[in-house]
């Protein structure tokens, strides 16, 4: 019933918002024109001025008589208009009510109608998300295609050199730019690998502790604390990596005779690993908890110790789920930007040495797009190509992870 009233009212409001400027503006401008003739300044600007004076944002004193006249007219117009609007609004409500009332016979399926409306509303909401994603992908694809007009696909995917400096003007000196993405992906993988080296064991062990050993009281404190790690903004991790961990690595490296760069893959990887721990621990904890207690009892009753039970029954049983968790964490590590920008450097080195500075796909996208850009230079377009590739990789990873997790879930139904 309320819906029947509200719907027309909302419609009127929406129409009003659209119609109002079109409707009022010509009238005001006409008056202005007729009084003052053709004056200097674009009409749009004048209209803005009038509106501002009317709203009290601009002082009216400096304006000419003609403008003031127009302001007055604008105000009165607005008054009438808003009155008309109110009347229409109410009428719409009443009309809707009347219609609703007339429809409200005994066998009118009111609840079904509401259901329909709710369904439509929910559908529309989800469509917004889907359409946005689709348009993002579309934009990525289109821009990336434009990039590949400048740089061949294979050069991009297999090139070993990345230096996206292109002469902007023909007379400028400079290289023609190299767009080989391999160093970027190598850097990404190196950092993600280091991060997983940290996160997988620590995350998994804490998950096992939480799920199998921790008393409920300990668990209820420890688990949220681990999850707080996930809530720390990545910027904070970033400067922690750049200002604390990286110098530490340089120092430690120095004492044992290794030459570490002040921005290193190791620093970024370590901190990123810490950031990812809660992903793995939380998801794995859930997965381990989903293993039926009867299996635990079965194994213990066979004379297995607790750790034998975990190693030989629980972990194998939850392995697919844990793999899923790890894959999700990997895709998170690959997509992570802030820490890398701050701690790993921007030099596109193709190296496997974690003490050197490397750069990643995401960090390059940032550096390409920060600052003033020309939107059709290959350099800018390269960002889209990188983005698209990254998107494909993480999408595939996520897809795989979800598939594995889902298959695992089916098993104990």
């Amino acid at each position: 019933m309320v819906l029947w009233c509200a719907m027309p009212m909302i419609m009127v409001v929406l129409c009003w918002l659209v119609v109002e400027p079109w409707f009022v503006r010509p009238i005001v401008m006409q008056t202005l024109g007729s009084v003052a003739g053709q004056q200097a300044g674009a009409p749009a600007f004048q209209y803005l001025e009038i509106r501002n004076i009317a709203a009290g944002v601009l002082p009216g004193t400096s304006a000419s008589d003609a403008v003031m006249h127009a302001v007055e007219q604008y105000k009165s117009l607005l008054r009438t208009a808003s009155m008309a609007f109110s009347v229409m609004f109410l009428m719409a409500g009443v009309l809707g009510f009347y219609r609703g009332y007339k429809k409200l016979t005994v066998d009118f399926p009111a609840r079904e109608q509401v259901e329909k409306f709710v369904r439509f509303f929910l559908l529309a909401s989800s469509m917004v998300a889907i359409l946005t994603t689709l348009s993002i992908v579309l934009a990525l694809v289109v821009e990336a295609l434009r990039f590949f007009k400048h740089v061949p696909l294979l050069d991009f995917l297999l090139g070993l050199k990345w230096s996206p400096q292109v002469a902007i003007r023909a007379d400028q000196v400079g290289s023609s730019g190299a767009f080989g993405a391999i160093p970027l992906f190598a850097g990404t993988l190196l950092i993600a690998f280091i991060a997983m080296l940290v996160a997988v064991p620590i995350g998994l062990f804490s998950a096992i502790y939480l799920a199998e050993y921790a008393r409920p009281s300990v668990r209820s404190v420890t688990k949220p604390m681990l999850e707080i790690l996930a809530g720390i903004p990545t910027v904070v991790y970033g400067f922690f990596a750049a200002l604390t961990v990286a110098p530490l690595i340089v120092k430690v490296g120095g004492t044992i005779g290794l030459n570490a760069s002040s921005e290193s893959a190791l620093a970024a990887g370590l901190v990123m690993g810490v950031m990812i721990i809660p992903f793995i621990s939380s998801l794995s904890d859930d997965v381990i908890n989903a293993v039926p207690t009867s299996l635990r009892f079965g194994s213990l009753a066979m004379g297995a110790t607790r750790s034998e039970t975990i190693r030989k029954v629980i972990l194998p049983a939850s392995l697919p789920g844990i793999m899923g968790a790890i894959l999700l964490a990997v895709s998170r590590a690959i997509g992570e930007t802030m820490i890398v920008v701050m701690a790993a450097g921007l030099a596109a080195n193709l190296t496997a040495n974690p003490l050197e500075s490397v750069t990643t796909v995401t960090a390059q996208i940032v550096t390409i797009l920060v600052g003033d850009q020309e939107f059709d230079s290959p350099k800018t377009l390269a960002a889209f190509a990188l983005g698209l590739t990254l998107f494909c990789v993480t999408l595939a990873l996520n897809f795989l992870a979800l598939k594995i997790v889902r298959r695992y879930e089916e098993r104990y139904d």
């Binding site: 039926p292 009867s294 299996l295 635990r296 009892f297 079965g298 194994s299 213990l300 009753a301 066979m302 004379g303 297995a304 110790t305 034998e308 030989k312 029954v313 194998p316 049983a317 098993r411």
Partner: protein
């Protein structure tokens, strides 16, 4: 409790328990009967709630002892005391003494894992591990290090599966996942898994509750065979099953052991009124 005691004084074979309750704790096996396990004054608490009150019972060696009684009376709880599975249940506390071959199984120096190797358990619901059939049966021998070589383990697996009369059905798919078996097959697999470690005592908690009559009959046959080698304690809700397979029966009621004796005596001539009511089906 008093009615139980008078009942037991009339029953010659229950002298041991009488002595336990009246005088100092002396376990004195009767002639010709080998006592495998023995509980003396066992009480179990879950938190503040008492689940078992002063249970004393002897388990005769190489016999099948059936435990019957209404739901929630503590049969499973008692069974879990015998292989110390209650240790892993949170908030569970046990008083009293339980011995196996005269040794206190709750003594500090007892290795719980090897105790559980000697006292195997089959659960009410089949719980095969999500591994292959072969690996399920090989699980225990591998853990306890009974066999190192592949062929030794294989021999144990085949022997256990045949003893559980499952081998013929699964011999072509030993390496398929055990979760693909039917419920009855899974339960026989769990029995095979339990006997693969060659326990001395086998605890079975309603092993047939999820099975059809044919599978039940097979498991009962199996128990008859196993009784030659193992001491078996079975919890069951089926009076017929208890009277078919067991030599001795204990009747639990609301946390106490109301009556225990030979199966014939319990079913044909119960002394305790609660036993009589339960057996004749006059309990709710």
């Amino acid at each position: 409790m008093s009615s139980v005691m008078t009942a037991e004084t009339t029953e010659a074979s229950e002298k041991v328990i009488n002595q336990v309750q009246d005088g100092p704790i002396v376990v004195r096996p009767e002639k010709g009967v080998d006592i495998k396990m023995s509980a003396e004054g066992v009480s179990v608490f879950y938190g503040d709630k008492q689940a078992l009150d002063d249970i004393s019972i002897d388990i005769h060696s190489k016999q099948i002892t059936a435990l019957i009684g209404p739901s929630g009376c503590g049969k499973s709880t008692f069974l879990r005391c015998l292989n110390r599975m209650n240790d892993v249940v949170g908030g569970c506390r046990i008083n009293g003494r339980i011995t196996m071959d005269g040794e206190d199984i709750y003594a500090p120096r007892v290795d719980v894992a090897s105790l559980r190797g000697q006292v195997g358990m089959v659960f009410q619901k089949p719980n095969p591990f999500p591994k292959s059939i072969f690996d399920n049966v090989a699980y225990g021998p591998r853990i306890h290090g009974y066999a190192q070589h592949r062929d030794e383990i294989e021999e144990i697996v085949v022997r256990s599966l045949s003893k559980a009369s499952l081998f013929e059905e699964v011999k072509d798919r030993l390496h398929d996942p055990a979760t693909g078996l039917s419920g009855g097959q899974q339960q026989r697999l769990c029995i095979a898994r339990a006997i693969a470690v060659n326990p001395e005592v086998l605890l079975m908690d309603e092993p047939c509750s999820a099975l059809d009559p044919i599978a039940t009959a097979r498991i009962e046959d199996l128990m008859w065979e196993l009784k030659e080698k193992f001491t078996i304690i079975i919890v069951t809700h089926s009076m017929q099953q208890a009277s078919r397979v067991s030599q001795r029966t204990g009747f639990f009621h609301m946390g106490v052991l109301a009556e225990v004796g030979t199966t014939e005596q319990i079913f044909q001539n119960p002394v305790d009124n609660r036993t009589r009511d339960y057996i004749t089906g006059r309990f709710g």
